[in-house]
C-alpha cells in the first residue's frame, strides 16, 4: 500500500493505482471524458490533468500511476487553465445545437463546459457527413470529441472490433473499417458504444422520443434471454421508451442488440395479442376465446394424450424468456401432472 495526498486528503491505496483511482478513494472528483473503467487508459482527452508536487509537467490522472508520498493538486489555477483550454478546443470543433440534441442534459461535455465556464466558442469546423445508416442509432461526427470511448468499448468490452478512428488528425472520424457505412459493417448494433458516448455524437434513434428529465428509470432484468442482464427501463407516461444497461453481475454494463432494442417495444405494441386464440377446424381461422375455454381445451388434450400414450410421451420445455417462477411451475406441472421427467429450458443450449 502507498500513501497519496490529494487536495489535502491523505489516503492509502494499492501500489499501481492511478491518481484517478486514488482520488476516488479520497472522495475528490477529477473530470474525465475518455476514461473508461477497467480498460487500459486512453489518456487522449486531456481533461483529467492534475499537478503533482515536484513534477514539472501536468499529468493525466487517469493514466498516471500514483507513487508513495505523492502530493497531488487537482484544482490549481494551472490545472483549471489547462482543462478550460482543452474544453475550448473541443468546443471550437463542436456544433452547439444543444436544444435539438437528444443528449441535452445527459451530456458530459455540456456539464463540464458549464462547470468551467466555457462559452461563446464559435463553430469553425467543416461539417462532416452524418452516418444514419444503422437502424438503431446515429453517428454525428460534428458532435464527436474523439474520446474513443465507443471504440474502446467495441474493441475491448464487447470484443466486436467493428469501429475505429479513420483518417487522421483533424479529419479523424469514428467509423467501421475503410469508412464504410455502419449498416454494412460487422457491427451487431448492440449499442454499447452509444451508451459509452459522453456526447450527442452517438445516440439511439429512440432518444428522440423523450427528454431524459421526463423519464423514470426502473431497474429490472432483461426478459429476452436467460443471461439475466440488468438494465434500467426508461418509463415515460407509463410506456417504456428506452433502456440503459446497468452494472449487473452477468452483464457488467453491457447489453446485446436484442436486450437494448428488441425487448420492450412489443409490450406496448398495438398488434400485441392479448386474448387466447383457438383455431376453428372447419375454417382454419383463429377466433378469440376466453382463458377458461382455452385452458380447458389444452388440459383436456394433454389428459387425452397421457391416457393414450402414457406420461412418457409428454414433455415440458420452458422458454428462456420466462421468469424463474414460471419455469419452476412448468417443470412442476410436467413432473406431477404429466408424470414425466422430460423437462428442460432452452437457455441450457
Amino acid at each position: 500500500m502507498i500513501k497519496v495526498t490529494i487536495d489535502g486528503i491523505t489516503v492509502e491505496v494499492e501500489q499501481g493505482s492511478t491518481i484517478l483511482e486514488a482520488a476516488k478513494v479520497a472522495g475528490v472528483e477529477i473530470p474525465t471524458l475518455c476514461y473508461l473503467k477497467d480498460v487500459t487508459p486512453e489518456a487522449s482527452c486531456r481533461m483529467c490533468m492534475v499537478e503533482i508536487e515536484g513534477m514539472p509537467k501536468l499529468v493525466t490522472a487517469c493514466s498516471f500511476p500514483a507513487a508513495d508520498g505523492n502530493v497531488v493538486h487537482t484544482r490549481t489555477e494551472r490545472v483549471v487553465k489547462a482543462r478550460r483550454g482543452v474544453l475550448e478546443l473541443l468546443m471550437s470543433n463542436h456544433k452547439t445545437d444543444c436544444f435539438s440534441c437528444p443528449q441535452n442534459g445527459m451530456c458530459k461535455l455540456q456539464d463540464l463546459c458549464f462547470e468551467y465556464g466555457v462559452k461563446d466558442v464559435p463553430f469553425e469546423g467543416v461539417e462532416k457527413a452524418i452516418d444514419d445508416s444503422n437502424k438503431f442509432f446515429t453517428y454525428d461526427p460534428n458532435l464527436c470529441i474523439l474520446c474513443h470511448r465507443c471504440v474502446n468499448t467495441c474493441q475491448k468490452r464487447t470484443c466486436r472490433g467493428s469501429i475505429d478512428t479513420t483518417q487522421r488528425g483533424f479529419k479523424s472520424v469514428i467509423s467501421p473499417a475503410f469508412g464504410m457505412d455502419w449498416a454494412d459493417s460487422n457491427c451487431e448494433s448492440c449499442g454499447n458504444c452509444v451508451q459509452a458516448c459522453p456526447t450527442g455524437a452517438l445516440t439511439m434513434k429512440k432518444q428522440k422520443t423523450y427528454r431524459h428529465w421526463d423519464v423514470e428509470k426502473v431497474l429490472t432484468t432483461c426478459p429476452h434471454c436467460a443471461t439475466g442482464c440488468q438494465y434500467y427501463v426508461y418509463v415515460k407516461d407509463n410506456r417504456v421508451v428506452d433502456v440503459e444497461a446497468a452494472d449487473g453481475p452477468s452483464n457488467r454494463g453491457l447489453l446485446c442488440v436484442k436486450g437494448r432494442s428488441a425487448s420492450f417495444d412489443f409490450a406496448q405494441c398495438d398488434e400485441r395479442i392479448t386474448t387466447p386464440l383457438i383455431k376453428d377446424r372447419e375454417t382454419g381461422e383463429f377466433r378469440e376465446a376466453g382463458w377458461d375455454e382455452a385452458l380447458d381445451l389444452v388440459a383436456s388434450k394433454f389428459t387425452e394424450l397421457k391416457k393414450t400414450y402414457g406420461g412418457q410421451a409428454l414433455a415440458g420445455f420452458a422458454c428462456s424468456r420466462s421468469t424463474n417462477e414460471d419455469i419452476y411451475m412448468l417443470q412442476k406441472m410436467t413432473r406431477v401432472a404429466f408424470e414425466s421427467n422430460n423437462t428442460d429450458n432452452c437457455a441450457r443450449v
Binding site: R46, S63, A82, L90, D164, F170, S172
Partner: protein
C-alpha cells in the same frame, strides 16, 4: 553457423578488398587492381546510377577488364545533389553528375589507360597540382564518419565486405569476453545519446530493460521510420551498411536478455527494405543471427515490419502499437517501454544511427567515443543539409561544431551570394537558429536552450528571401497533416494554430492574435499526449522569439518583409526602368499586364496572380515587389 575462427578467416580474406578503398589504400591480396564504387543510394539511383553501373560493367567486359576491375554498388556518399556519383580507386577519383555518355570515355581513358578524366570529376577535387581525394574537400574534411563509416565504401549486399571492415567482431567480443554489465558500462561511459531525437542516454535505456525475472520475453526494436521532412541519414545507413544495425541489435539483445528484434522501416524506402532483406538472409545463413550464435548459446533473430507512412509511427509507443498490428497511435507513458513495451513486454527501441555507433564503441572503447564531441553530447552526429545551401547532402560531424562552420565551410555557403538568415534543426519538432546563435556549438542541450532541438538531424538553411512566419507555417502544416488525432490539444490545437498563422500571413490578424497564438502554443506544448504535439509549436515559438518584428510587420503594417506571403505583396513596374519589351506581358499567366511596345508597362494588381513570373523574366530589373 560460422565459428569465431571462421569469422576471422573471412575477415582476413576480405579486409584487403575494403582497405583498398581509401586514399592511398593498399591493394594487398585483393584480386582487382581497380575498384569502381558507384553510389546506389536512393538519391543517385533516382538520378540513374544503376544504369550507369550496368553500362560500366558492360564496357569493362568489352574492354576485357572484368578480371581486373570490379564495379561495386555502394550506399550513399552524402553529396546527393551531385549525383550520380562514383569513386574509382586507387586514384580516389571522385566523378560527379555522371552521365551515361561519359562511361565509355572513363572506361577507355581511366580504367584502360590510367588517365583520370578530370573534366568529369567533382571540380573541387581538381587542383593545379593534380586531383585530390574527396576527403580533402571542404565538404568532407571536417567530417568524421563513424555511423556512416561504411556507407559508400562497401557493397551492402555482401556480408563478406562488412566482415572485412571488422563487422561482427564487436558481437563476437561481447558474446565471448564481456558480461552484460560490462557492455552497459561501456555504452554508458561512452556518453552515447539517442540519435532519434530525444537524446536519451543509450546506456541508461538499456539498463532499465535489464532487470526483471529471468526468462521474461523481451524485445529489441530499431526505429527506421525516419519521418522528418528532409532527413535521410537513417536511410543511408540502412542502404549502405545494413549489417551494422543487426550487429548492434544483437548486442543489445544479449545485454537485456532478448531473443527477438524488430526493425520498423518505412515502406517508402524500397531500396533500404530490399537491402535489409538481402542482409538478413545472409546474416541468418552465416548464423550471426539465429540460434546459438558463434556457438555461445545466445540466440537472436530479427524481423522487419513495414511502416505505412505515418510520421507519428516514429514515436516509440506508436511504433510499438503499429508493430502489434493496431492503428499507430501513441500510448501514455508511464508505463515506459523498458517496463511494458512491445506486446506488453520489456522493450528497448533505438534509432538506426544510434545502433550504427554501437559496434565501434565496443571495439574502440568508451573513451575513444567520449573523446569526440562536447561534454554532454559525445561522438558525432549526421545532419541532412538542405535548403538554401550549396552543398546539399549528408554530413557527419563531431558534436559541438558550430552552425557557421556547417553552413559556410562544409555547406559551401549560400547560393547567389545571399545572406544567412536562420537554420531550422529538428524538423517539425525543432526551431530556428538565428544569426545571433551562429557560433553556438551544436549539441543536444545547446539546441534546446536556444529553443530548437537536435531532432533526427535535419538542418535546413534559410536566407534573406525566406519569411519566418511562412517557414513556421510550413512546418505546422506538416504537423497538422501528421497529427494522429488521438489527443485534443494536438488534433484541434495545431489546426487552430495554423488558422491563426494563415490569418497573420493573409494580413487579417490583430495584435491580440499574437498573444492568442503564444497562449495556444503553450497549451499544445504542455498538454499533448506525445512529443509530436508537445513539440509542434516549437517552429512558431522559436521564430516568434527571434523574428518577432517580422510577425509584427505582418500584423501591424500588413507587410511581409521577405516578400514571400502572397497576400501581402503586390508587383509593380518601375516606369523609369521599363523599356517596354513586353516580355513580362507575354509570360503573365493572368493577363494582368498591359502596355504598348516600347512604352512603360503596368500591372493590374486586381488581376495579378502574384506568381512572380514577370519578375524573373524582366531583363531590366524593372519589376519590384512591395
Amino acid at each position: 553457423m560460422i565459428t569465431i575462427e571462421q569469422l576471422q578467416e573471412i575477415k582476413e580474406k576480405n579486409q584487403d578488398i575494403v582497405n583498398f578503398r581509401k586514399e592511398h589504400g593498399e591493394r594487398g591480396n585483393g584480386k582487382y587492381r581497380s575498384h569502381v564504387l558507384v553510389c546506389a543510394g536512393t538519391g543517385c539511383t533516382s538520378s540513374g546510377s544503376q544504369k550507369i553501373a550496368d553500362k560500366l560493367e558492360e564496357e569493362i567486359k568489352a574492354a576485357g577488364l572484368e578480371e581486373e576491375v570490379c564495379v561495386i554498388r555502394t550506399g550513399c556518399h552524402g553529396l546527393c545533389a551531385l549525383g550520380p556519383v562514383m569513386i574509382i580507386y586507387p586514384e580516389a577519383a571522385f566523378y560527379s553528375n555522371m552521365e551515361l555518355e561519359h562511361v565509355p570515355e572513363i572506361v577507355s581513358e581511366h580504367l584502360v589507360k590510367g588517365n583520370v578524366v578530370t573534366k568529369y570529376l567533382y571540380q573541387e577535387t581538381v587542383t593545379e597540382d593534380g586531383i585530390i581525394s574527396m576527403n580533402q574537400t571542404n565538404f568532407y574534411k571536417p567530417q568524421n564518419r563513424v555511423a556512416l563509416r561504411n556507407c559508400g565504401v562497401i557493397n551492402p549486399e555482401c556480408i563478406n565486405e562488412y566482415i572485412g571492415t571488422g563487422g561482427y567482431q564487436a558481437l563476437a567480443k561481447v558474446l565471448t569476453t564481456m558480461s552484460r554489465e560490462d557492455v552497459v558500462k561501456c555504452i554508458t561511459d561512452s556518453g552515447l545519446r539517442g540519435r532519434g531525437g530525444g537524446g536519451f542516454p543509450t546506456g541508461k535505456k538499456w539498463q532499465f530493460a535489464m532487470g526483471g525475472e529471468p526468462g521474461v520475453q523481451k524485445y529489441v526494436c530499431c526505429n527506421a521510420d525516419e519521418g522528418d521532412p528532409g532527413a535521410f541519414m537513417d536511410r543511408s545507413v540502412l542502404e549502405g551498411d545494413p549489417h551494422v544495425v543487426f550487429e548492434a541489435m544483437a548486442i543489445a539483445g544479449y545485454v537485456i536478455g532478448a531473443n527477438q528484434g524488430y526493425i520498423y522501416v518505412r515502406a517508402e524506402y524500397p531500396i533500404a527494405v530490399d537491402r535489409l532483406n538481402i542482409a538478413l538472409a545472409q546474416a541468418r545463413e552465416y548464423g550471426v543471427l539465429g540460434d546459438n550464435i558463434f556457438g555461445t548459446g545466445f540466440s537472436f533473430d530479427i524481423d522487419l515490419r513495414l511502416g505505412a507512412g505515418a510520421f507519428v509511427c516514429g514515436e516509440e509507443t506508436a511504433l510499438m502499437t503499429s508493430i502489434e498490428g493496431n492503428r499507430g497511435e501513441p500510448r501514455p507513458r508511464p508505463p515506459f517501454p523498458a517496463v511494458k513495451g512491445l506486446f506488453g513486454q520489456p522493450t528497448i527501441l533505438n534509432n538506426v544511427e544510434t545502433w550504427a555507433n554501437i559496434p565501434q564503441i565496443i571495439l574502440k572503447g568508451a573513451d575513444w567515443f567520449a573523446g569526440m564531441g562536447t561534454e554532454k553530447s559525445r561522438g558525432t552526429k549526421v545532419f541532412a543539409l538542405g535548403g538554401k545551401i550549396n552543398n546539399v547532402g549528408l554530413v557527419e560531424i563531431p558534436m559541438g561544431t558550430t552552425l557557421r562552420e556547417v553552413v559556410e565551410n562544409i555547406g559551401g555557403g549560400i547560393p547567389n551570394g545571399k545572406k544567412f538568415k536562420a537554420a531550422q534543426t529538428g524538423g517539425p519538432s525543432g526551431g530556428c537558429i538565428s544569426l545571433e546563435n551562429y557560433d553556438v556549438p551544436i549539441d543536444y542541450d545547446n539546441l534546446v536552450s536556444i529553443g530548437s532541438m537536435m531532432g533526427s538531424g535535419g538542418l535546413i538553411v534559410m536566407d534573406e528571401d525566406d519569411c519566418m512566419v511562412d517557414i513556421a507555417k510550413f512546418f505546422l502544416e506538416f504537423t497538422v497533416d501528421e497529427s494522429c488525432g488521438k489527443c485534443t490539444p494536438c488534433r484541434i490545437g495545431t489546426k487552430r494554430l495554423l488558422e491563426l498563422l494563415n490569418k497573420i500571413t493573409d494580413g487579417k490578424a490583430e495584435m491580440e492574435d499574437l498573444d492568442r497564438m503564444v497562449e495556444l502554443c503553450n497549451l499544445i506544448k504542455e498538454n499533448s499526449l506525445c512529443a509530436l504535439g508537445q513539440t509542434a509549436p516549437n517552429p512558431v515559438l522559436s521564430t516568434y522569439k527571434y523574428f518577432k518584428d517580422e510577425y509584427i510587420a505582418h500584423v501591424k503594417d500588413k507587410k511581409c518583409p521577405a516578400g514571400k506571403c502572397k497576400n501581402l505583396v503586390s508587383y509593380h513596374i518601375d516606369a523609369e526602368k521599363c523599356i517596354g519589351c513586353g516580355l513580362c506581358k507575354k509570360n503573365c499567366p493572368g493577363d494582368a499586364i498591359t502596355g504598348e511596345k516600347k512604352q512603360p508597362h503596368e500591372i493590374d494588381t486586381a488581376k495579378c496572380l502574384k506568381c512572380g513570373v514577370c519578375m524573373t523574366k524582366c531583363k531590366k530589373d524593372a519589376i519590384y515587389k512591395a
